[in-house]
């Protein structure tokens, strides 16, 4: 099973795992070392990794991946409500539900490629969002969001122990899933997902997907039926999204319809492009950057700015605060937009291309591996 991985791959995997596991300490100086944000890094890292399997390898740009995230969340919360507060069944339940949903949507959407595929997936996601928002209210609790209540059945838990006072916490065989234990659970999932993605990238199946990206017609002429490969890739990436969704529910047992909104689908596209399409580590980096901006920059208010520019003379300080105030607080989208523009214009291969260029400048020679060949050349299929 480990045959396709080179020594470099193993080093990358080891390095990645270490970086993820020590992030609570390394990220503290940047103000990001608290469990809720670290969990988000891992969860959206998984989401972006899965998205990259589809977009990075086959070039099929799905604009509706948030639907799978939402389905995973709802399935997980229902597992908490009906069966048990243990997170393992909920994660399995979430992955399975998202996978099934992906089979249905993929089967229909993959009949088209390019922009038509994107529009189809967008339409399906928007449909799911509206269903969750209003029509399916008994299942999704509409805009309010699905939450745990005191009188949920929780069959399995209640069979073993009498329910205590207050709402139970999500747990992994007794370990509370909020705070740092929750982060380590998500981190473990991220590491496993990273490993699986690496395996897919290096496998003949991954090669097949890349071939679809480079020229699908040629593939068909040589006698390959591309549809099953595409559908498999679509379902796998849907399951990654389902896992991410169920982890969101595991660390915070609530599922809201806005998780399925098109902006959420767009966000994962941004993450992947920002980090580097078709690279292994890029999407995780992109997810981290976007979540960091969302959480940290949006929390700066005028008080923080005044403190930051306190060393300047009074008049200049006010001007600087006014100016910088545009880019923080509610203006964090603006900062993100500027960074995104700069990266797309100057580093089309995303952050990973930037890192590669830096490495080149520093004179480190790297053997180009096949993962990097597709970097910077994100083209739609056909």
């Amino acid at each position: 099973m480990f045959a396709n991985l080179s020594r470099n791959d193993w080093l990358l995997f080891l390095g990645f795992s270490i970086v993820v596991l020590i992030s609570p300490w390394t990220l503290t100086p940047f103000g990001a070392g608290y469990p809720a944000l670290l969990q988000k890094f891992c969860i959206f890292g998984i989401f972006a990794l899965g998205f990259n399997i589809l977009f990075g390898l086959t070039g099929y740009l799905s604009f509706g991946h948030a639907a799978f995230l939402g389905v995973g969340s709802y399935a997980a919360v229902w597992s908490f409500k009906l069966f048990t507060m243990n997170v393992l069944p909920s994660v399995i339940f979430g992955i399975a539900a998202a996978g099934l949903f992906a089979v249905v949507i993929g089967y229909i959407s993959l009949r088209r490629s390019g922009i038509y595929f994107s529009i189809l997936t967008l339409a399906f996601a928007q449909m799911s969002y509206n269903l969750a928002y209003s029509v399916l209210t008994p299942i999704t609790n509409g805009e309010t969001g699905l939450q745990l209540t005191l009188n949920d059945p929780r069959i399995i838990d209640n069979a073993f122990a009498a329910p205590g006072a207050g709402l139970p916490q999500t747990n992994l065989f007794g370990i509370d899933m909020s705070g740092y234990p929750g982060f380590y659970f998500c981190a473990a999932a991220l590491i496993v997902c990273f490993f699986l993605t690496m395996r897919i990238f290096r496998s003949p199946f991954g090669m097949m997907l890349r071939a679809i990206k480079s020229n699908q017609n040629r593939m068909r002429y040589t006698g390959f039926n591309t549809r099953p490969y595409l559908l498999t890739a679509f379902v796998i990436s849907g399951m990654y999204a389902g896992l991410a969704g169920s982890l969101m529910a595991a660390t915070d047992p609530l599922a809201g319809a806005e998780r399925m909104q098109w902006t959420a689908s767009g966000e994962v596209v941004l993450m992947t492009i920002l980090g580097g399409v078709g690279t292994l580590v890029g999407p995780v980096l992109g997810a981290g950057v976007i979540k960091y901006f969302e959480n940290i920059f949006s929390s700066f208010n005028e008080g923080t700015l005044h403190a930051a520019f306190a060393f300047l003379p009074v008049g200049l300080e006010t001007v600087m605060v006014k100016l910088a105030g545009l880019f923080v607080g509610e203006g964090w989208h603006l900062t993100l937009g500027v960074i995104f523009m700069l990266i797309v214009i100057f580093l089309p291969g995303g952050i990973m291309e930037g890192i590669a260029r830096l490495a080149k400048l520093a004179g480190i020679k790297r053997k180009p591996s096949h993962a990097d060949m597709s970097a910077g050349s994100a083209q739609p299929a056909e």
Binding site: F2, N130, T144, Q147, D252, S298, G329
Partner: protein, 447 residues
């Protein structure tokens, strides 16, 4: 190392190393639990978390709430003119911070989305050490954040949330609401409707499809049917629909003579404007003038609806035109600070902050279980709504509510609502058990 030929020993050493790595952080987390309760303030400041919508449909309200919070912090720290501290009947607060600590604050953007709101609340609790979270301008968000705070053992002082569920079905031990609710709107509005429009009316409801809309529709139907009104139909509309014409056309042919809009914010502005454009208010049905009623009003919404709101009846929690000392004091210090009068959202948020600070001062500690005890059953006055009770059974405030009418004789650009009637607290009080729900235990939690 040859990973492709993984042997038993190699496997054992690597998994052991990984396991040790995973277990290591528990040392650190157990050490950090030495504090007695979640986010116990240790320095000379105490941090409040203000979680308001800064982007999206309720951004106007959020901005006004934030202004009120900043004003409240100033007054607590003894800056400015002291505002409602001078009229508040509890004199525990001296304008020198809370329990000798200066009040600092952190802010977050809820984006009017449950997820984003819980994210920013978590950040404020886990990273910035907020001892209390307050804010919100949507019942969905308030219910979601209240649930989170209850889990983490942090007190949540709800801002603008009008759904019965917040202190009904979804009430929580750690959540408190000063704002009134849909049930009270129904009770307050009913008698005025009967007086103005008679007891023989046929009502048609358009309702925003989420927790607040559902409970308001239910409460208003109950109140109006008690008067003898008939409910023709109650139609749910998606939130943020923008175009309501497809929902308004059927009203014309339904035989209804009153349209009740259970909409808020931009939705209400749109649906009301379209109803007026369709000529509903000029029609005669069943020999009576057709009427439109908007049960929950705010001044900011009235600004959006412009002339269309004139003459329309509704309710609000508070309005800046009230003449009692407390309301005047608040309008004065808010006006001096920002140059315009506060909205009802600003008022409730300001009051909630003061009430929390006062409860800490009276309890002599920031420990949540003690503060909760100090708030439960607390009776006070001098906050702009007359004598008020924080009921222990459901953490809902009971006080006066206002029935208002869109003003057609404006003295200034902010003079949009005319108070028709101040409804006494007795008329609005209900049995705490009618909405179900359970507060849960009052136990200390460490986060």
């Amino acid at each position: 190392m040859h990973f492709d030929k993984m042997n038993r020993r190699g496997f054992l050493t690597s998994t052991a190393a990984l396991g040790a790595g995973l277990a290591m952080p528990t040392i650190f987390t157990s050490a950090s639990r030495a504090q007695e309760y979640c986010n116990m303030p240790t320095g000379d400041t105490v941090v409040f978390g203000f979680n308001v919508p800064q982007t999206g449909a309720y951004a106007d309200e959020g901005a006004d709430e934030l202004r009120a919070y900043e004003l409240a912090v100033k007054h607590l720290n003894g800056e400015g003119d002291g505002g409602l501290l001078n009229t508040f009947t509890s004199k525990a607060l001296k304008g020198s911070g809370v329990l000798g600590k200066k009040v600092a604050f952190v802010t977050g953007d809820t984006q009017t989305k449950s997820d984003a709101a819980r994210d920013s609340a978590k950040r404020m609790i886990e990273k910035e050490g907020a001892i209390m979270i307050t804010g919100g301008s949507s019942s969905g968000v308030a219910v979601a954040v209240q649930g989170l705070c209850n889990e983490m053992g942090i007190i949540f002082m709800a801002g603008l949330t009008h759904s019965n569920d917040t202190t009904g079905k979804d009430k929580k031990r750690y959540g408190f609401r000063h704002f009134f609710n849909a049930y009270m709107s129904g009770q307050a509005l009913g008698p005025v409707l009967a007086e103005e429009y008679g007891t023989d009316r046929r009502a048609y409801h358009l309702t925003a499809d989420y927790t607040w809309g559902w409970t308001q529709e239910e409460s208003i139907i109950n109140a109006t049917e008690k008067l003898g009104w008939e409910t023709v139909s109650a139609v749910r509309t998606p939130l943020g629909a923008g175009d309501f014409s497809q929902y308004i056309t059927p009203v014309l042919n339904s035989g209804a003579d009153v349209l009740i809009l259970n909409h808020y914010g931009k939705d209400m502005v749109n649906s009301l404007t379209q109803a007026v454009q369709f000529g509903l208010r000029d029609k005669q049905v069943n020999g009576k003038d057709f009427q439109v009623v908007v049960p929950l009003f705010s001044r900011l919404m009235a600004q959006g609806a412009g002339k269309n709101i004139e003459g329309i009846l509704g309710t609000t929690n508070w309005n800046w035109s009230l003449q009692d000392d407390a309301s005047q004091a608040f309008v004065k210090s808010f006006g001096e600070e920002y140059g315009f009068p506060p909205s009802q959202a600003a008022h409730t948020c300001y009051v909630q902050t003061l009430l929390y600070a006062d409860a800490c001062e009276r309890a002599g500690t920031f420990a949540a279980p003690e503060v909760i005890k100090a708030l439960e059953g607390f009776e006070f006055d001098g906050m702009g709504n007359g004598p008020t009770l924080y009921r222990a059974e459901d953490h809902q405030c009971f006080k006066k509510a206002l029935v208002v009418r869109g003003n057609d004789d404006k003295q200034s650009e902010y003079d949009l609502l005319k108070v028709v009637k101040e409804v006494d607290r007795e008329a609005l009080t209900y049995d705490a058990s009618i909405f179900g729900g359970d507060l849960g235990p009052n136990e200390g939690k460490s986060c």
